[in-house]
Symmetry: C2
Subunit: 324 residues, 2 copies
C-alpha cells in the first residue's frame, strides 16, 4: 500500500475512510479552518478530550492498529456516557511516522470507522502531523437534555454505590497481551475488553433521563483511584463491601479482588443512587450486570470491608505522575 505523499492527501484519505452516510449534525466538517456544529435547542453540549499515546496507552508491536482506532474513540466517548449524554461528533488529532501512513493507517481508520458508526459519533475535523511515535488526542462532543447531566458532585451520605459490568477484566486482558508473542488477538473476554472497550452509553442515558443516579463517573484509571475522585467532588466518603465487588471469573483466585480494585481501562460506570430509588434499580440493564457495592458516608474516608475488617482503601490505579 502506498504511503501518503503530503498532508492534503492524508486528510483526504481520513475524510474518505470516515465519511458517514448518516445525516450529520454538522454544517461544515473537514476541509475548512474549523467545523461548524449546530446545537440542538434545549440541550447542553458535552466536551471532553483524551490522550492515547504510543508506549503510554498502547504498544506499537502488541496492539493491532484496528483496536487502537476503536479504543481511542471508545474511551473518549465513555466520558460522554459518564455524564448521561449522547455522543455526536469528534475531532481527531493524529501524529504518526510516514512509515505508518500506508497499511497501518488503513487498519487504524477501519477500527475508528467501526467505532464511529457503532457509537453514533461522526468525524468533524482534526489536525495531522508527522512524528516518530503515534500520538492521538481525541475530542468528543456530545449532548444531554438541559439539567439532566449527571456530575461527580451529587453523591449524598446514605446513597448506595453501584457499578456496571465486571471490574478488572481489562487489566487482566493487558496482562495476557503482554505475555503473547506479536500482535494481540481478542481470543477471550478479557482481551476483548482491553482491546475493544464498550462505553456504557445506553445505561448512562437511562440513568440520566430517569434521574436515577445522584453522581456518576466512568472507571478509567481503576476503582481505587477513581472512587476517591467522585467522593472528593461530592465531599463525602464511602464504605465498600469487598465481597460484593463484581470480580472477573477469568482471574486466578487471590488476584481477582486486586484486579477489581486497581485495574484500569474497564470503562464501566460507577454511580450512586439515593436509598428511596433503590427499588427502581434492576439487577441487569439490557443484559449488563448492575451491582450494589457499598454506600456513601458523611465521614470523608473510603473504607473497604473484607470479612468484617474495615481498612482504608489506598489508590492503586493508574497515575502517570506517581513516582514509585
Amino acid at each position: 500500500m502506498r504511503k501518503t505523499k503530503d498532508e492534503n492527501a492524508l486528510i483526504a484519505w481520513i475524510e474518505r475512510a470516515l465519511r458517514s452516510g448518516k445525516a450529520r449534525p454538522l454544517a461544515v466538517g473537514l476541509g475548512d479552518d474549523a467545523a461548524l456544529w449546530v446545537p440542538e435547542p434545549g440541550y447542553e453540549t458535552i466536551l471532553t478530550c483524551d490522550w492515547f499515546l504510543q508506549d503510554s496507552h498502547f504498544l506499537r508491536r502488541k496492539h493491532p492498529p484496528d483496536a487502537i482506532g476503536w479504543k481511542c474513540l471508545a474511551r473518549a466517548v465513555s466520558d460522554v456516557a459518564a455524564m448521561g449524554g449522547k455522543p455526536r461528533c469528534f475531532l481527531l488529532s493524529l501524529a504518526l511516522p510516514v512509515s505508518l501512513t500506508g497499511k497501518w493507517l488503513s487498519f487504524f481508520l477501519a477500527g475508528l470507522r467501526r467505532a464511529s458508526g457503532r457509537l453514533g459519533c461522526v468525524l468533524a475535523g482534526g489536525d495531522t502531523t508527522c512524528q516518530d511515535k503515534v500520538l492521538i488526542s481525541i475530542t468528543v462532543v456530545g449532548e444531554v437534555g438541559r439539567g439532566h447531566a449527571i456530575q461527580r458532585s451529587g453523591a449524598r451520605p446514605g446513597d448506595l454505590v453501584f457499578v456496571s459490568g465486571t471490574l478488572g477484566e481489562a487489566e487482566l486482558g493487558l496482562r495476557l497481551l503482554r505475555r503473547m508473542r506479536g500482535m494481540a488477538k481478542a481470543t477471550n473476554a478479557a482481551l476483548r475488553k482491553h482491546l475493544y472497550p464498550q462505553p456504557r452509553l445506553a445505561l448512562g442515558q437511562w440513568l440520566a433521563e430517569n434521574r436515577l443516579a445522584t453522581a456518576m463517573m466512568d472507571l478509567s484509571d481503576g476503582f481505587s483511584t477513581d472512587l476517591p475522585r467522585l467522593c472528593a467532588a461530592s465531599r463525602v466518603g464511602a464504605l465498600i463491601y469487598g465481597n460484593s465487588l463484581p470480580v472477573t471469573p477469568l482471574a486466578q483466585t487471590g488476584d481477582a479482588q486486586d484486579l477489581a480494585l486497581n485495574g484500569g481501562d474497564d470503562y464501566e460506570l460507577l454511580f450512586t443512587v439515593s436509598r428511596k430509588k433503590e427499588t427502581r434499580m434492576p439487577h441487569k440493564f439490557q443484559g449488563l450486570r448492575l451491582t450494589r457495592i457499598g454506600e456513601i458516608t458523611r465521614e470523608r474516608k473510603i473504607l473497604l470491608i473484607n470479612a468484617r475488617k474495615p481498612a482504608r482503601l489506598r489508590p492503586g490505579g493508574w497515575d502517570p505522575f506517581r513516582q514509585s
Copy 2:
C-alpha cells in the same frame, strides 16, 4: 519550585492558574468527566483543534515556556477568527516530563492565562499525562451567528483577494531565534510575531457580521501552501500580483518576497471580497493593514505575476509529510 506529586495535584494547579473571574459560559468545567457547555440560541458552535509539539512546533531550549503557553492557544483561536467567530472555551491536552512540572509549567501557565484572558477563551477541561517530550493538543470552541460563518469554499471568479497585516514576519522571527543563544526574547517585531502571534479576531468578526468576505482562512502554513487550499475548496484559481504582497520591511531585499510567499505561522487572514463590495473595504481596520493582492479566476491555476511575467505559484510552505 516543587514538582507535582500526582495527576490530581497537577490538574488542581492548572485549574487554579487558569481560573477566570469572568462569568463562564460553562455549566461544569474542570473536575468532572467532561465539561458542559451551554450554547447561545441562534448561534452555531465552532470546533477546532491544533497540535503544538516539542521539536516540531517549538524548541525546548529556545522557546520561552511563557511564549509556548501563549502561542498554543493563540494559533488554535486563529481558526475561530478565520470563520468570523468568537472564541468561548478550550480543552487542554498536555503531556510533559515530570522534570518540567515545576518552574517551566508555572511560566507556561502564565502565558496560557494571559492568552486566555486576552482572547476571551476560558479553560473548560482537558487531559494530562507524563511523557519525555512536551506534547500539546488544544481544542477551541467558539460561536458565530447562524449563517454568518465564512468558509473557504465561497470564493467566486472576479472576487478580489485580500490579506491582513504583513507576511513572512513570523518566519523571519524564527530565523532570528535560531541564531540566538539560549532562550529567545521578543526583541523586535519579527520575534514578537513568531513568539506571541495575534489572531485577527476583530477583523474576522467584522467581515462576518457585515457579510463582506465570500471566503476566508488563516495563514498558518504559508501563503503558497494555504492559498491553493482556499482555491481548491472554492473550485477556482487566482492571479496574485507579486509587487502587491505586504512584505516585512525587516527582511533583506531579495528575501522579502520569498518569506511572504512561503513563511508560515503568520496567522494573518486571507479572504476574498466580491468586486461590488470593494469600496466598503478600508485600507486599515483598527490599525491593521488590509492589502488587495490579486483576484480569483475561473481557470483553476494559481499564477504569480512579477514584473509582467506570470508563473505558476508552487507550494513552498510547511508540510510535515513532504519528503524533500
